[in-house]
């Protein structure tokens, strides 16, 4: 079927392809193993996966275990020590209601922590190249030695001008309301905040679970607190206060934990109820994106106008499925580096972003553009460590405009921990959420390493890869 005339022409093309893709040592080696691997194993973000990709969490899960321990221990003590007395003295409905609340809290907590918050998969090399081309045409800049200016696109939504920022890590223009979480190194749709207490980002897909979690936890905390107090009071009516405390020491512990938790959890629930009713994210609220202070014409274009619809949309709207397909198998591509005979085929369905195999044939088929195309991505990636630190990120807030409850602040992790100055301070200790993670150099370092792995996966020119290796060793 192939005419003889096409043969030598094809050989020329393929020999060019082979030099580029042989440069990253990992990809041919990986290809042999790739056939059996699932996509979560090569996921580029900083996430942890369990149960063969079914469970997805952030990298730092220590605080999540603390949350779990606090809830389990407090509830366990309540059921073990207070409920027997109360069930007999007052009504057996108390442990039943407590049990239902506890079940609900655990279910929603695990759902929030284990599900995909709405991570946007990174752009395939072709998409990234296409976007780069469009941006360069728009900017009118050639591939100079400097990093091009920040890239934004403007779109008018419901009468408001919204700026879409370009994410240098994910190589996409972020959809409206999406944001890049620097802790998880992912762009997340409708990004609310990164919650260390649930060990995950809170975004479009798990916001309702998060809200139901804090709401039910508020009820559970108030419930336990109220009935522990009741228990102690009832006992002290019989045996005196100090004896009552001696008889059920667990009640003291529970009361202390609940007392400190109530303020923060109830405050947080109230705050999120406000956010839901105005259809804003924590991120937007902190930045004051839609506040009147920015201008009289500034309003929230996503709000449906009335509170009921906003609430229903946030809590009962459809849940979009996960876009990252963690448990899918990586499609093996044709071994394009060393197989000139096979050709640039089997291209279509690959999703493996660790595979630059897909892009090089495309780029190579445009020989006139080769010299321009490849160094460009290299330069972009070289710029990425700086870019992720300084570009395309929300400006740190200097004030807390809408928050009345000070304890509410402590739950939110800002997106850029590198700026220590604006971090929320922790008023108290363990029971109320401190919400701080140590930041700074570990993350910047891992940014660089992460960029490195991206670069090798992108299978850039050999020199670019060597350059990045030198960069990481600094």
């Amino acid at each position: 079927m192939t005419p003889g005339g096409g043969g030598p022409m094809k050989d020329c093309e393929y020999s060019q392809i082979s030099t580029h893709s042989s440069s990253p040592m990992e990809s041919p080696h990986k290809k042999k193993k790739i056939a059996a691997r699932r996509k979560w194993e090569v996921f580029p973000g900083r996430n942890k996966f369990f149960c063969n990709g079914r469970i997805m969490m952030a990298r730092q899960t220590g605080v999540f275990y603390l949350t779990l321990v606090l809830i389990l221990v407090t509830s366990g003590l309540f059921f073990a020590f207070d409920c027997p007395y109360l069930a007999v003295k007052i009504t057996p409905a108390i442990p039943v209601v407590g049990g239902i609340l506890f079940f609900f809290v655990m279910g929603t907590l695990l759902r929030t922590s284990f599900s995909d918050p709405g991570v946007l998969p990174r752009a395939t090399p072709d998409e990234a190249a296409d976007l780069e081309r469009q941006i360069d045409i728009a900017n009118g800049t050639s591939s100079g030695g400097y990093r091009p200016p920040p890239r934004t696109r403007e779109v008018i939504i419901n009468g408001q001008t919204v700026k879409l920022k370009y994410c240098f890590t994910c190589k996409i223009f972020r959809p409206p309301r999406a944001s890049h979480c620097s802790l998880c190194d992912n762009c997340v749709e409708r990004f609310d905040h990164h919650c260390p207490w649930v060990g995950n980002c809170v975004g479009k897909r798990n916001y309702r679970f998060f809200y139901m979690f804090i709401l039910s936890l508020s009820f559970l905390t108030v419930f336990i607190f109220a009935f522990v107090i009741t228990h102690v009071i009832l006992r002290s009516q019989q045996t005196g206060f100090l004896n009552a405390l001696k008889d059920s020491p667990a009640s003291v512990l529970e009361a202390v934990v609940c007392f400190f938790s109530v303020w923060s959890i109830v405050g947080l629930s109230g705050f999120h109820t406000y956010l839901i009713s105005s259809n804003q994210t924590t991120n937007e609220d902190i930045k004051g994106s839609w506040s009147n202070k920015r201008g009289k014409e500034n309003y929230n274009p996503y709000s449906y106008g009335n509170i009921i619809t906003n609430c229903c949309a946030a809590l009962c709207g459809p849940i979009s499925p996960s876009l990252i397909d963690r448990r899918g198998f990586i499609q093996p591509d044709t071994p394009q580096p060393a197989a000139p005979t096979n050709g640039i085929t089997m291209y279509g369905a690959t999703q493996s972003q660790s595979n630059m195999a897909a892009a090089t044939p495309l780029l190579q088929s445009e020989p006139s553009l080769t010299s321009e195309e490849l160094p460009l991505p290299g330069k972009t990636t070289l710029g990425t460590p700086c870019a992720t630190l300084s570009l395309g990120q929300p400006t740190p807030p200097s004030s807390m405009p809408n928050l009345t409850s000070e304890t509410v602040l402590t739950d939110m992790i800002p997106l850029k921990e590198e700026h220590d100055g604006h971090q929320f301070l922790t008023p108290e200790e363990a029971p109320s959420p401190p919400g701080m993670l140590s930041t700074g150099s570990p993350i910047t370092h891992s940014h660089t390493l992460h960029v490195l792995s991206l670069a090798s996966q992108d299978s850039l020119h050999e020199d670019s890869v060597r350059g990045l290796v030198k960069l990481s060793s600094v």
């Binding site: 409708r190 309702r208 050709g343 085929t345």
Partner: protein, 180 residues
């Protein structure tokens, strides 16, 4: 060369009747890809731009393409519709502490399956005979509709060596013979 193009296109159609689009990929070489981006003018709902990409000018009729994109947009609107049935699903899920999602498929997932069937069908009937291939947006994170443009191998000697984009005049001849 010109005489070989019709025979290749017939091979395209023949291979598709074996419902194997892989054969299309094997028998043709990929020339370029076009990306149809998301249209955010109505907010965050999933919609794609219906603007006709210039690279497809010689390959497919404008109206066919726009109709495909509009149908896809309608499917996505149906998936994301907030109304009685979605409220019911949401409340039921909430009442069961979301454990029901372990056994039940959401409305959105059902519509996504419909969409992938539709795209498969469109590929077989409309796009592949013209040497194009649509990729389901869900495989690209719902960011783009990726349209792969394939060149015939016979014409690749003349087309791919010189032309960068497939809408160049050299490939226009190949596309023209096939598309009309």
């Amino acid at each position: 060369m010109a005489t070989e193009k019709p025979c290749l296109l017939i091979e395209f159609v023949v291979s598709l009747e074996g419902h194997n689009l892989q054969e299309l990929r094997r028998s043709a070489s990929l020339a370029t890809k076009v990306f149809v981006q998301r249209d955010y003018s109505d907010g965050t709902i999933c919609q794609f731009q219906t603007k006709f990409p210039p690279e497809l000018d010689s390959r497919i009729e404008r109206q066919l393409f726009e109709e495909t994109v509009k149908t896809l947009n309608n499917f996505y609107a149906e998936a994301e519709k907030i109304g009685g049935s979605s409220y019911l699903e949401g409340c039921l899920a909430c009442a069961t502490a979301y454990f029901i999602f372990l056994c039940m498929e959401t409305h959105y997932e059902k519509v996504l399956k419909k969409i992938s069937r539709y795209i498969q069908e469109q590929n077989e009937k409309i796009f592949a005979p013209r040497g194009l291939l649509l990729t389901d947006p869900v495989e690209r994170g719902m960011r783009v509709i990726e349209i792969s443009i394939y060149e015939d191998r016979c014409s690749s000697g003349s087309a791919s060596s010189g032309s960068s984009s497939s809408s160049g005049s050299s490939s226009g001849g190949g596309g023209g013979a096939g598309g009309r």
